[in-house]
Amino acid sequence: MTPKIEISGLRKSFGALTVLRDINLHVEPGQVVALIGPSGSGKSTLLRCINLLVMPNSGHIRVGSDSFSFGPGSKPPAVMQQARFRSSTGMVFQHFNLFPHMTVLQNVMEGPVSVKKMPKAQAVSLAQALLAKVGLSDKVNVFPTTLSGGQKQRVAIARALAMEPEVMLFDEATSALDPELVGEVLGVIRKLAAEGMTMIIVTHEISFAREVADRVLFMRDGLIVEQGPAREVIGNPKEEATKVFLSHFHTRG
């Protein structure tokens, strides 16, 4: 089977600060990969490179049938090409980033209507179906400010799904939530995993990663230090750095 996502030799630095050193990664269709690691290890930057919100300095990225090369001798993708590419990768942000001037329904419709030029009526029924899926049928016509964090994040997931993406990228989707609201968002992600969505999840929820992810990647200092089946990396880490990182979670319970 050809991998859905293939990344090789990816490097990124911001000025003198090198954030990604040499990232090689592939994700099979339907696979769920969890990215764990300490803050500043480059997890979020890697995720943002995958949908070109951050332009890598060098390396290759392929998602589905679109592939890009970066570095000397290769031209970075043009603006419209970037936009088209991003429309097939869904991204969910730590701080939700819902559009405050639109209702919940309009938030979810925005992608299909303005990017895919989908007729309004069709976009409305698509958005309604997706909001039902994330359990928010009763919030269709309210503005985001009136929602709880967990509800906002579920709208954000519906908004990303509305583009019918090939892959979903979650950037610490539960880090900004009150503990009692984390479960409802993880529940939606779990459901997507069961449906066979290809996903990369940057997370600090170690037990969730063990439960839902097929593979876990541990990153530190811009490198993937250890990777393997979730149970192995989390239950029985081989690298010292992974052990140290995971020990913080075990002691916290």
Binding site: N51, L53, V79, M80, Q82, A83, R84, F85, R86, S87, S88, T89, G90, M91, F93, H95, N97, L98, F99, P100, H101, E110, G111, S114, V115, A156, R159, A160, M163
Partner: protein, 220 residues
Amino acid sequence: MYQWHFDIVWSYRWLFLNGTAITVGLTISVVFLGLLVGLVAGIAQLSHSAAARWSSWLYIEMFRLTPLLVLLLWVYYALPIMTGIKLDALTSAVMTLTLYGGSFYAEIIRAGIVSIDRGQSEAGLALGMPPGSVMRRIVLPQAIKRMIPPLMNQSIIQFKNTSLVSVLAVPDLLYQGQLVAMETYRALEVYTMIAIIYFIVLLPLTVVVKRAENHLAQSN
């Protein structure tokens, strides 16, 4: 003790009314044109192209840091000698006021755009929207709400600024008043009346600004 004779003002009421109409009309056109110029220059400030950033910066600072009276005189008297293009007084006045107001509007518009959280444009880009649509559909609708009070304040200042065009003999309220004062030797009454007219026209506008500010404070 000075004897006030406001009946003289009344007998020239049509001149005052005509001057007020010209001042209001002039303000409306330079506010409208200035907003267009300001929008372009403000967005150019945030452009990826260095040339766009530099040229808009040069324009903004050139007009922001020069006194309006000097600009008006320069465009009307010096520009024709330098370029050979002779503009009539009204055209010079409208052009100068537009560019002058536009430079202030540009800064307000730029500041309004950058005040919107980066996550908003990232969310739009992540959906696959091109940068232009992100600006039009996501950033500007939110930014404009924040810009309205300072833009209205700037427009009130612009209304008063139009009085300077009288130096080019554009027949605005102040210029017409000066004619009346010269003819009647009743300068004190005339200038008092002019001040009152400016005040009366602007008072309702300040109420609107206050309301807009309160509304904004509530919606945030």
